[in-house]
């Protein structure tokens, strides 16, 4: 239903709106493209500040140098372990907890619901959690990166809502055939919840991949650092004090950068390496997360 004649004001607004959108595109894309371009440029052009969104004096040296740092590779492996581990446990535990809440005969339903809801409103806070982790001797272990955040009440409730919408005839007929609840969950409910699981898996993987604070407070040995912590050391190592600016290019944790290599290119290449998996899955991911949010907005 197109209007016969657009008013001048309406068309002026369209132009204005498109300009705003172009501004947004530039503000979002420029920094990202600039980082990628800088990581691929040679020192001469970086120092003169002429690199914008396209590499100048193309070189892969920053990357070849960075990959010589064993902690980058270790960080990658660790991040993958933590992301896959925490997401896998999250999906498993959350499903196991959510499914019984959809069974009318389950006696502990009310108790579990309240038990979950309380954690949405109250928490121990940073320090008591830290003390607990310490007293459980989980400091500096792989588990601390995988277990503590595995179950969230909010996720359990979303899973429950989703499971409830699965036609109960399917579950009932399986039960009549003698399937127990675990079989019903794994053979019927979960296969019908692929969209839900994919959405939460992606959110879980990305969330875990991007987290660093837990690693900083709970992990001590560099061997266990996820990539984000390695990145942090590259970007921020010595300098919380004033080195920035005075030293300009800053501080790189690797030795002997070659003539054509700018420390800035090294830092940018580590950013790109860290961001790469996210960029890779983003096109697939972005279909899912709208749905993720919408599943969330059904309730509340």
């Amino acid at each position: 239903m197109r209007k016969r004649r657009e008013s001048f004001g309406s068309r002026a607004f369209d132009v204005f709106n498109i300009l705003i959108m172009i501004f947004i595109l530039v503000v979002v894309l420029y920094p990202i493209l600039n980082i990628i371009a800088t990581s691929l440029s040679s020192a001469r052009y970086i120092a003169s500040g002429s690199v914008t969104i396209w590499p100048k004096g193309f070189t892969l040296q920053a990357y070849t140098d960075v990959f010589k740092d064993p902690y980058i590779f270790k960080g990658y492996v660790n991040s993958i372990i933590y992301a896959v581990g925490s997401t896998g446990i999250m999906l498993l535990f959350t499903s196991l907890m959510a499914y019984p809440l959809t069974i009318p005969e389950f006696a502990g339903k009310k108790f579990i619901t309240v038990f979950l809801a309380i954690t949405m409103f109250f928490s121990g806070g940073l320090i008591p959690t830290y003390l607990l982790i310490r007293s459980l001797h989980l400091l500096d272990t792989v588990w601390v990166m995988i277990l503590p955040g595995a179950v969230g009440a909010y996720n359990v409730f979303l899973f429950r809502t989703f499971f409830m919408n699965i036609p109960s005839e399917l579950k009932d007929s399986a039960r009549i055939d003698g399937a127990n609840d675990l079989i019903v969950l794994f053979r019927i409910v979960l296969p019908l919840s692929k969209a839900l699981l994919a959405t939460f898996a992606l959110f879980g993987l990305v969330g875990s991949w991007n987290s660093w604070f837990e690693a900083m407070i709970y992990l001590q040995s560099q061997d266990k650092y996820p990539l984000q912590m390695v990145l942090r050391n590259y970007l921020f190592s010595l300098d919380t004090n004033a080195i920035q600016g005075r030293v300009g290019a800053g501080n790189v944790a690797i030795n002997a950068p070659g003539e054509s290599l700018d420390p800035k290119a090294v830092r940018m290449s580590v950013i790109v390496i860290t961001m790469f998996p996210i960029m890779l899955i983003y096109p697939f991911f972005q279909k899912h997360f709208t749905r993720g949010i919408l599943i969330g907005s059904i309730k509340g």
Binding site: M1, D14, V151, N210, F213
Partner: protein, 284 residues
């Protein structure tokens, strides 16, 4: 079946709640939480007499208020603008791009800020272009809040539109058609149809935002601040982190944490109450 989840919650959510008792004790790891001696409100008193308390409270509150003023309305405005775009593909493209920063880690965002505000960074190149002296943005207290809030908008504004766009997509299109027959222009349609339809969503999110006003994103602060900018950047979260984790003052920082949780809950409760009276929308 619920057992693995139940135990995880019990251990990692309920045990720390019990651990809050540390705030009222002189904690010694050897004696454990229960056997450590009670000291009542000693550590709360310490906080009220801590010269730093005023600073971190003020910084937390100011950053919270500024982000409420700037970061909260931004996605609503952007969603309304998205909604007015005529070309479906262009709209989809801008949306997809604008969501992306939400998935960039805090470390990368902070790192980008550091690079772009450095002496040879983008912002100083722009200043130099206009013949201005370079500014060490991250070392100057007066710029910290702007950098923090602006980068927060950069990170979250696109993604924040999703929920409003979802609310808008639920609007019955015949409403717009009828309004058009009545001679309403685009602005009138936004004011009288779109806005009233997304208002409940807005209010709910506003209550959450007000309730979270003290919950500054201190991870980004820890990455960005330095002793030079502590005067404006040090917030409750970062102070608790420094004194608690780095300084091992567990009782004191637990007390601060508990105090802030209680205050936050009161703020949330008041916001909810006001909203229920004024707009008849509320969380509980």
């Amino acid at each position: 079946m619920v057992l693995p989840g139940f135990l995880t919650l019990l251990v990692f959510h309920y045990f720390p709640m019990y651990g809050i008792l540390v705030a009222f004790k002189d904690y010694s790891a050897v004696q454990g939480i229960w056997n450590s001696p009670w000291v009542g409100f000693k550590y709360f008193n310490t906080f009220f007499h801590d010269p730093m308390a005023y600073r971190v409270l003020r910084n937390t509150l100011l950053l919270g208020i500024y982000s409420l003023i700037w970061s909260f309305p931004a996605p609503i405005i952007l969603a309304l603008l998205f909604n007015e775009l005529r070309n479906k593909y262009f709209k989809k493209f801008v949306q997809t791009v604008s969501y992306f920063p939400h998935f960039i880690s805090v470390v990368i965002v902070a790192g980008m800020l550091k690079e772009f505000t450095a002496r040879d960074g983008l912002f100083n190149q722009i200043l130099a272009f206009f013949g201005k002296e370079p500014i060490m943005f991250l070392l100057e207290p007066e710029y910290f809040r702007t950098i923090f809030i602006a980068s927060g908008i950069w990170q979250g504004v696109g993604f924040g539109t999703i929920i409003y766009l979802a609310a808008m997509s639920g609007i019955d299109p015949t409403l717009y058609d009828v309004a058009e027959v009545d001679g309403a222009g685009r602005w009138k349609k936004v004011v009288h149809i779109t806005w009233p339809c997304i208002r409940p969503t807005t209010i709910i999110l506003l209550i959450f935002s007000i309730g979270g006003i003290l919950g500054t994103d201190f991870q980004k602060i820890i990455l960005l601040y330095s002793p030079e900018t502590y005067s404006v950047a040090d917030v409750i979260g970062s102070y608790v982190y420094r004194q608690g984790i780095l300084g091992a003052q567990y009782e004191y920082t637990t007390a601060i944490g508990l105090f802030m949780s209680v205050v936050s809950f009161i703020i949330l409760y008041i916001a909810n109450w006001v909203s229920r009276k004024v707009s008849e929308t509320s969380l509980f």
